[in-house]
Symmetry: C2
Subunit: 220 residues, 2 copies
């Protein structure tokens, strides 16, 4: 390997990121730079010295992994994103891949596994782990090429419903949410019922858990 693969890291947890950087270097890659979040990434990118692969955390302040990946697809199409996240989350996987990520690994893997993923993305252009291959890719597009959204809950939710979800993940009553959104309580009822139906949920606590699990609201 005369020219080492150039890697950049984007993660808001400094210590974790530093450790990851050491590890990546130990796997004989070059760590071009590290960024705290999507905004920081934009600042540190250099058109004349682009990374080959970016290891991208999903949950970050300022600009998260979804937005950053989408932005990269538009502005740095040659840079390939390997999504790196804490937990397996089917919806996040789909959303990241749709936004342009070339692969997806949970942080809970062995270093050799990470090396394999990076090499695969560098040489083949993508790396879909067993998780992705087996369970998800087929669900992204239907046989006729049209989008299939059965498993992709995000595509099912519109802006108003997401806004409602965020407000519902609080101690507000529906009446208060309605007044906050300048809508009738009946309409809020409708949003709730639609979400119950779409997401297979039966109570408000279910909504809260869904919102948190899928990163629609951050609790920490």
């Amino acid at each position: 390997m005369n020219q080492p693969i150039k890697v950049a890291l984007v993660d808001d947890h400094v210590l974790l990121r530093k450790g990851l950087a050491d590890l990546v270097r130990g796997l004989d890659y070059e760590v071009l730079f590290e960024a705290d979040n999507g905004m920081d990434l934009v600042a540190k990118l250099d058109k004349d010295n682009q990374p080959d692969i970016i290891l991208m955390d999903i949950n970050m302040p300022n600009r998260d992994g979804f937005e950053s990946t989408l932005w990269l697809k538009e502005n740095y199409p040659l840079v390939r994103v390997l999504a790196l996240t804490m937990y397996e989350d089917e919806d996040s996987v789909i959303r990241m891949i749709r936004n342009g990520a070339r692969g997806y690994v949970v942080k809970d893997i062995e270093p050799q596994h990470l090396k394999y993923a990076i090499d695969a993305i560098y040489s083949k252009g993508f790396y879909y782990s067993d998780l992705v291959t087996g369970k998800l890719v087929h669900s992204l597009w239907d046989k006729d090429g049209s989008e299939k959204s059965e498993y992709n809950v995000f595509s099912k939710l519109n802006d108003r419903e997401i806004h409602f979800l965020k407000l519902a993940t609080s101690e507000m009553t529906y009446k208060e949410i309605a007044s906050e959104m300048n809508l009738s309580v009946r309409t809020i009822d409708g949003y709730r019922d639609a979400l119950f139906d779409k997401l297979n949920i039966k109570s408000r606590v279910g909504l809260v858990l869904f919102a948190i699990r899928h990163g629609i609201v951050r609790v920490n």
Copy 2:
């Protein structure tokens, strides 16, 4: 440094832990072993070759950082625990220190900071960061030496209430929770009201958010 400080790592996220291990070695410590969780830690501890310091994650399956730290205090009193967690959480800090942790750092710090913390614990026996010193230590004990629990919500919650909290963070109704706990619905009402009062909460969603924020339930 003729005899390097012996460090052990306990964290269920393998990749993160491996990176951390590389980093710790880079700081010239010896990594004695790594463990996936509290149970694994017990299995890997050797009476004849104990680590000086254990970097302990808080949120883990099987046996979490709280339990493990308490267990260490009883069984390996010479081993010092440095709690390592994702987010600053006042209650977790207090609970860990009370359980015997010698220090507490969020993962979002610079490597040099971690080195300073490890060295401090090794030489002085403890490391209370600005966070801990400034905001929390004074709240652990009152002037007259008695426990002051104003800021420590954990000390206010008993086992039954915590059990109830876990069940409340689901789509179960109170009636279902009551039958699950083999108690009357009235008693469950009482738990709820007690928690509302203690934690300054006004609705079940508030309970759910509290439980998640404080790591009483893990959502991912």
